[in-house]
Amino acid sequence: MTIFNPSFSSVNHYSATLPPDWPGGFWLHWGVFVVIIFAFVMAMVMGFIYLERRGIGRFQVRLGPNRVGPFGVLQPVADAIKVLIKEDIVPAKGDKWVYWLAPVVAFVPALMIFAVVPFQDGALLADLNIGILYVVAISSVSVVGIFMAGWGSNNKYSLIGAMRAVAQVVSYEIPLVLSIIGVVLLTGALSMNKIVEAQTIPFILLQPLGFLIYFLAACAEINRTPFDLLEAESEIVAGFHVEYSGMKFALFYLTEYAEALAISAIITTLFLSGWRGPILPPFLWFLIKVFAVFCLIFWVRSTIPRLRIDQVMAFAWKCLLPLALINLFITGIQVIVWPEALPWAVVFLNLAIMAVLVVLWSKFFRLGGGRVEV
């Protein structure tokens, strides 16, 4: 575990001084962490692809990939080799530059999120004092890449997918940020590491409603089922990446999983008390929680049908946004009433509030309708 925590001992010492006292010098720290993050993301994405395919195979009463390597663990490697040697097709009437750039623009932000994710106490590339704000800002850049792909392909299906993506991400950004503010209110800091340190009680218990909203909004943000409208296979074939092949397609595929990994890591950090945990080393706790969140994501994917675009928008504005505001309001009051640390009683209070609100909304908020007179 030492490799992830090269030489510095105290986080406070590390982040309080300006300019930061980079352990081992700026460039060593930077270089080591960039390599670690890249390797971590690639390895985890490979693992996730394998896990999801095997897992969904089980959900769908079949075996899943089991031919390449023991239990099929080398299937992602085989897939990677396959896409590498595939022909790279560029649409003749596409916008070449935009088409070329799109996969990169989509992939890089997903990777950049990991710069502020604490793998264990203080083990992160940059402990920005605006960490969570950085995550929110960077994670919404991916949609630019998706829109570029949809536009550059010069294909009607991809354009529809890209338009859906933009509408969806812009709408879900708002409840997403509002649900994070609840956590920030409790912590009093924006730094990811401070948020983890503040979680003597995991925030999923203190902020159950916030967790729910964040999880749903994040699923919409990374376009996972039931919000996978932009690549809706049964409607618009493959959506924004319908024209992509070879390695460019693989980059989009990687983006999808890297984003899922990023969201899992952020949920772990914000709501599941990050690397904290008894007995096991912190890094392992972090990994276990990330895998648990990811399993939840693909469980949802393999069971739930897709929403329609107007229903997706209605859900964001009429359901998630009011709930997020109410959650913010309640959290604000609680922070004022108990200025030090929230007592355990609040856990039950908040769970009860969440249950009441969710039941209320499911009673009075109805999706449906949608026919337009023409």
């Binding site: 009463v61 409208l229 074939v237 897709r306 329609r308 109805r366 309708g369 949608g370 007179e373 023409v374």
Partner: protein
């Protein structure tokens, strides 16, 4: 300032994951909303009706397998019944019961695919589809037992069925019939309690009762619109008048109702199979039919309630060994004529599930 927009035309199909074959919809869209839709079909036309005029009555049975390949047994049944009516052949009672059992099993298998594909169109990422396939597999195993085939059975013959059931068939069928209702219950629960599915399917793609009747729709599409019309009751053929079963009907005629009707019909089919198993008489399964059949000059229309609706065969005989005219009334082609009316004003995502709720088989539409 309003942004200037204009409608655009998009081709959904012929190569598209949700067209269930090679169907093509030329849709005019305003953003996501469908302004106009023009169905284009014929990509799978093989000229079966013309080919059939050059073959004997018996040789035509395998052709009917290839009409609606998801309901081959029903197609066999409709055709051989039309020929028997034309030639005035009566068949042994045991064969009638076996035909009913096979036709009802086929109805379950076909509805399983219909419902599974519909859920897949809703975006449920293959899971319901594969669960349906798991159950369908059991029916295919039963069919394999009786005729050795799993897709194109060619089991029915003019004058009965090709062979009697093996002795392990009835225990296997009994086991299936006992398991099936609990599986249908499981699915019904998913249907009734899944909020997203209800939001997607309820009220979408309504086919009014009057329109359904005026386009002569049939099968679950018609019954979903609330018309109690089932040829098994309205014009009983084979031995259907000896069984007790209900005709489930929908209320509003939306995609949800069509889906619901299919689920309920599976239950009724299980009921029929149970009764048929109890009443199954011993005896012959095939009567003596002349090797080269020369039906008397005349014409006949035989129809049955196939899983997708009224399947009819219109045969004209000129006393030769081949039919002079061989015409099929494919249920899904007729049901498809309402597609445009159901779709206009809905969004692309709805268009896909409305199309899926008709449950078509392109091989039958194009012939």
């Amino acid at each position: 300032m309003a942004i200037k927009t204009e409608p655009f035309v998009i081709n959904i199909g012929p190569v598209h994951p949700s067209t269930h074959g090679v169907f093509r919809m030329r849709a005019t869209l305003d953003g996501e909303v469908i302004l106009d839709m023009e169905p284009v079909f014929g990509y799978l036309h093989r000229g079966i009706e013309k080919l059939a005029e050059g073959r004997t009555y018996t040789q035509n049975i395998p052709f009917t397998d290839r009409l609606d390949y998801l309901a081959s047994m029903s197609n066999n049944l409709a055709y051989v019944m039309a020929v028997e009516k034309l030639a005035g052949i009566s068949i042994p009672e045991r064969a009638e019961y076996l035909r009913v059992i096979m036709a009802e099993l086929q109805r379950i298998a076909s509805h399983l695919i219909g419902v599974g594909a519909f859920l897949n169109d809703c975006g449920a990422f293959m899971t319901p589809f594969l669960y349906m396939f798991r159950e369908r597999e059991k029916i295919l195993d039963l069919f394999e037992m009786v005729c050795g085939q799993r897709l194109t059975y060619n089991y029915m013959r003019i004058g009965g069925v090709s062979q009697d059931i093996p002795e392990e068939f009835l225990p296997a069928l009994d086991k299936f019939v006992r398991q099936m209702p609990s599986f249908i219950d499981e699915y019904d629960q998913l249907l009734a309690e899944n909020e997203i599915l209800l939001a997607r399917a309820k009220g979408v793609g309504i086919l009014p009762k009057e329109l359904a009747i005026s386009i002569s729709a049939s099968g679950p599409v018609l019954r979903g619109s609330g018309v109690k019309w089932d040829i098994r009751k309205a014009d009983p053929y084979s031995v259907y008048d000896r069984f007790q079963f209900d005709i489930p009907i929908g209320s509003t005629g939306d995609t949800y109702d069509r889906y619901w009707v299919r689920i309920q019909e599976m239950r009724q089919s299980v009921r029929i199979i149970k009764q048929a198993m109890e009443q199954l008489p011993p005896g012959e399964v095939l009567t003596e039919v002349p090797h080269s059949l020369h039906p008397p000059v005349g014409e006949v229309y035989g129809h049955i309630e196939a899983p997708r609706g009224e399947l009819g065969f219109y045969l004209v005989s000129d006393n030769s060994i081949a039919p002079y005219r061989f015409h099929v009334r494919p249920p899904t082609l007729i049901n498809l004529t309402a597609l445009r009316d159901m779709m206009i004003g809905w969004k692309i995502a709805d268009a896909v599930i409305i199309f899926g709720s008709i449950d078509i088989c392109l091989a039958e539409v194009d012939r």
